[in-house]
């Protein structure tokens, strides 16, 4: 009985320790679990596949380092796919740190592809303003981004010669961790300019974009580390998300076991006529 009571009121530091072990061990000893690809990911994949070579793909890096563990792997997998299909990639950011994360991502792409800056891709950098930036891009790219992130004139870049405004963009990939992000691209680029918008986001924000998926305002969504792992699987890209899914799997199972233990102890104590204090370090009475 003492054990059951201890279980009901377990010190949360024990929970923290078990979670830490359940995440670290699979990272050190990978289990190699197969990731099943969902329809939402397949849609994004097929969208990139069906575009003719040389299509203009806009990738918006609307996230920061906090969300990068989830969103950066999908950015890498997506960029890899675009460059393998010889698409032209236009990078921009509505978040300040996004542009720098794009620099890091392109550093990895340069190791694998023979890319020429200004011909195959461009990093336009960060522009504050959210929805208004996207609306202004609908009228003119050069007016919003007269210079790229490095300060060079965009008018001199061959890749920008064919991109006058959003209507010249064949696909938009909004990688976002909040606002401005996917909702802004859907509200403006899709609703006002009928551009095809796909999204990549953290797992916690993915549920709120399902209404946009159902209406077709968002053509596909990569949600969290799982979405990144799925995209790596479907494009056969050797990224880090797939290996990290082992850790996420074990952590989920551990949390479920904790929940089951908590309920077992709750029911036992309730049967004894004592509902228990309600969990780790419950509130003292007033």
């Amino acid at each position: 009985m003492k054990f059951v009571r201890w279980l009901a009121d377990i010190d949360r530091r024990i929970i923290f320790l078990v979670i830490a072990v359940s995440v670290v061990v699979p990272l050190l000893v990978p289990l190699g679990m197969r990731v099943k690809v969902t329809s939402q990911t397949k849609i994004v994949y097929e969208e990139v596949e069906k575009l003719p070579a040389g299509s203009n793909v806009l990738v918006a890096f609307d996230y920061d380092p906090a969300a990068a563990p989830e969103v950066h792997p999908m950015a890498l997998a997506f960029l890899h796919h675009c460059f393998a299909k010889k698409h032209k990639v236009i990078i921009m950011a509505l978040w300040p740190q996004g542009a720098q994360l794009a620099v890091s991502a392109m550093g990895e792409m340069m190791q694998e592809f023979d890319l020429e800056y200004g011909r195959d891709y461009v990093n336009l950098g960060y522009k504050p303003g959210g929805d208004i930036v996207i609306k202004s891009l609908g009228a003119s790219f050069p007016k919003v981004f007269p210079r790229d992130m490095a300060g060079a004139s965009t008018a001199d870049l061959p890749i920008m010669a064919e991109v006058r405004n959003l209507k010249d963009i064949d696909l938009i990939m909004a990688l976002s961790a909040g606002d401005p992000g996917i909702p802004a691209w859907v509200r403006v680029a899709n609703a006002l300019y009928q551009r095809r918008v796909a999204g990549g986001c953290t797992a916690v924000s993915a549920p709120q974009f399902f209404p946009y998926l159902q209406t077709g305002q968002l053509i596909g969504l990569l949600g969290g580390l799982k979405g990144a792992a799925e995209y790596e699987t479907v494009t056969a890209y050797a990224g880090k998300a797939s290996s990290r899914m082992d850790a996420q799997s074990i952590a989920h199972v551990v949390i479920i076991l904790f929940i089951l233990f908590a309920n077992i102890s709750y029911f036992i104590l309730r049967k004894q006529g004592d509902e228990g204090s309600g969990g780790p370090t419950a509130r003292p009475p007033a």
Partner: protein
């Protein structure tokens, strides 16, 4: 005039942008307003940075609570600015190194703390005290299993399609596509109505809390 001028600017700018949605001929005027907005926002960021510097300087000067952290902030701000201005922000620069090896791990570590807090919150909150709590608990377990490979690796190749409804990922998809989407849509509609209503109040000067008034 301290109050009236911002209200007039808010009204005129708002009305132009709204009207342009219905009156295509106003596109060039609205485009100008948008350009001014982009300029103002860029300056607002500068103002924000100066304000941050000023507030932390005052904290250090007056030795207010936690003032040593303000010194770290000021040093960090100037270090990143100087590194970026003088040596560039491209790959391989000092700025890039500071970003990738200081800022990136610190930010992602704070976000990663959520894993621990989620576990302790779930342990405490997901108890089958009532019918709705039980539903929450069952849905949470199904979604958690369906989201990860371990939820489907036990399903053998020969599993009949007619029994797909017993698999966690099928159940998870139904929960997300039907129940979750319905709830999210309702919240989205409500929040959007709230945005329209508040924006109308701001445009008409009924709402003035953004000016610091009640």
């Amino acid at each position: 005039m301290r109050r009236e001028i911002p209200m007039i600017v808010a009204f005129v700018a708002g009305v132009i942008i709204i009207l342009e949605f219905f009156v295509p001929s106003l596109r060039s005027v609205a485009s100008q307003v948008q350009n001014w907005y982009l300029v103002v926002v860029a300056f607002a960021i500068l103002v924000g940075a100066f304000n941050l510097l000023r507030m932390n300087y005052m904290k250090v000067r007056d030795r207010r609570a936690d003032w040593p952290y303000s010194i770290i902030l000021i040093v960090g701000l100037f270090t990143m600015a100087i590194a970026g201005i003088f040596w560039g922000i491209g790959q391989g620069t000092v700025f890039d190194w500071l970003f990738n090896y200081l800022m990136f791990p610190m930010s992602s570590t704070m976000f990663a703390l959520l894993a621990f807090f989620v576990a302790s919150a779930a342990y405490r909150a997901f108890r089958a005290r009532a019918v709705d709590a039980t539903l929450l608990l069952v849905a949470a377990i199904i979604v958690m299993l369906g989201q990860v490979p371990i939820g489907s690796i036990w399903i053998p190749e020969w599993w009949p399609h007619s029994l797909v409804f017993l698999t966690p990922d099928w159940l998870k998809d139904r929960i997300m596509e039907i129940f979750n989407t319905a709830g999210q849509r309702a919240i989205l509609i409500g929040a959007s109505l709230g945005v329209v209503s508040t924006s109308l109040r701001i445009l008409l000067g009924i709402e003035r809390s953004y000016l610091g008034e009640e």
